[in-house]
């Protein structure tokens, strides 16, 4: 059923971001905690049209502008738990996401081959903890996981650890084999073990 647009809706929406920051923060909170669709549509209703107007000016192309709005708002919907009202306002957070997506879009459009993405520069959308579902599970550190941490070690440390703890060689043997001083083998072993310990502690 089609309903005529009431007259007062033709007014322009002039609410400033500062005036609705507290309200929008609260909506983002319920999106994060309850996946509340009503709250999200409030956030969407305020930011999406403004983002579109910004994107149109920046990209000069309706389709690209809409892509930017959609990508940004999809991230807001799915990553609302990463918003932290103590660190900044909703408008700053959403602007940052849009700016990052635009940075990556422009990089692709200009066919730039540099391997630099917005996550490196402004990691607003990177998960702080591994995964909320994972941490709630009571997991034990398995050998396989230690193996993963092992993969993160610098190459030179890995080689020394492998030779000593997997092949069972002595430190002197490793030093002779790699033609490096014994002291270097010792320090690499110590640093590698220290690093592994750190990674395990981070996991805890």
């Amino acid at each position: 059923m089609l309903i005529g647009i009431p007259l007062e809706d033709k007014k322009r929406d002039t609410v400033k971001p500062k005036d609705c920051a507290a309200e929008m923060s609260a909506y983002l909170g319920t999106v994060a905690s309850k996946r509340c669709k009503v709250s999200f549509s409030k956030v969407f209703g305020y930011f999406a049209p403004r983002l579109r107007s910004y994107a149109l000016k920046q990209m000069g192309n309706e389709a690209l502008a809409m892509e930017l709005v959609q990508d940004t708002m999809s991230n807001v919907w799915q990553k609302a738990h990463l918003f932290n009202a103590e660190k900044g306002s909703p408008s700053t957070w959403i602007f940052t996401i849009a700016r990052n997506i635009r940075f990556d879009m422009l990089r692709k459009l200009q066919n730039r081959k540099e391997d630099v993405c917005s996550d490196d520069l402004w990691p607003v959308l990177c998960e702080q903890t591994a995964d909320p579902n994972e941490t709630s599970l009571d997991q034990k550190v398995t050998l396989e996981q230690v193996g993963q941490y092992f993969e993160n070690l610098p190459l030179k440390q890995k080689a020394v650890i492998e030779a000593i703890y997997i092949d069972g060689k002595s430190q002197q043997e490793v030093a002779d084999e790699l033609s490096i001083p014994l002291g270097t083998v010792k320090s690499r072993t110590r640093l590698a073990l220290q690093r592994l310990k750190e990674m395990l502690r981070e996991y805890d």
């Binding site: 647009i5 969407f44 049209p49 809409m66 959609q70 999809s74 306002s89 700053t92 730039r112 391997d115």
Partner: protein
């Protein structure tokens, strides 16, 4: 104390996401180390955000946006998960370890092998892609790069330690931009040497003595390294 910073114009463009990817990477790494620039960028982003959304828009319903809202809400959950790439926050050269700023940590897992160049100079290439050459360069105490100029632009960030050239003393956190007008002979007299990260859009041009003679060779070093 950090003495060399990106220009104000660079920070403004960076905050808007308009600097080139390589430059962005160095500015970002500098901000990891420099509170002053980080604070300035945060303030710029905040005022950009304020300006962007401080706009009056017609408040009638919009079909295209309405459809978009439905599409977003019906998308499968977690379809936007980002790959978590293992970061490496330490860089090891010959048994010495250096802490890296956050912005460079993902790249550090892609560092090629360290090679010993002339004198007390070490170099490890980073595959950034594109035409630019990115390298970690480490000068041991007393080591340095022979006198050279720059054909293109060179951006350098001092990660740890200090070095000097004919004009200045540079230290941890300094953000340096050298162009073709700048001829210098960097040397490190710091006890722990000096680790820098540098992006050049053309190979260095050596200008003096024996280094000039081996120029084709060093040219090769720098050039070959990017293909790793």
């Amino acid at each position: 104390m950090i003495r060399f910073h990106p220009t104000n114009q660079t920070l403004v463009s960076f905050a808007e996401g308009l600097t080139a990817p390589n430059e962005s990477l160095l500015v970002s790494a500098h901000c990891d180390m420099c509170d002053q620039c980080a604070t300035r960028v945060a303030a710029l982003v905040e005022s950009n955000a304020e300006q962007t959304f401080n706009e009056c828009i017609p408040s009638q319903a919009d079909h295209a946006l309405g459809n978009m809202l439905d599409a977003i809400l019906s998308r499968p959950e977690a379809s936007l998960k980002r790959k978590v790439i293992p970061n490496q926050n330490l860089l090891t050269i010959d048994g010495k370890e250096f802490h890296l700023p956050a912005s460079l940590q993902r790249l550090a897992s892609q560092v090629g092998d360290w090679s010993h160049l002339v004198g007390k100079l070490w170099q490890a290439p980073v595959s950034l892609g594109g035409k630019n050459l990115a390298n970690f360069i480490y000068m041991e105490n007393g080591g340095g790069v022979p006198e050279h100029t720059h054909i293109g632009n060179e951006l350098t960030l001092v990660i740890n330690g200090s070095f000097e050239d004919e004009l200045h003393h540079y230290q941890t956190g300094d953000y340096l931009s050298f162009n073709h007008l700048y001829i210098h002979t960097p040397t490190s007299n710091a006890k722990e040497g000096c680790l820098v990260f540098s992006i050049i859009d053309q190979p260095l041009q050596f200008t003096s003595g024996w280094a000039k003679l081996i120029n084709p060779l060093s040219h090769l070093y720098f050039k070959v390294s990017t293909k790793l």
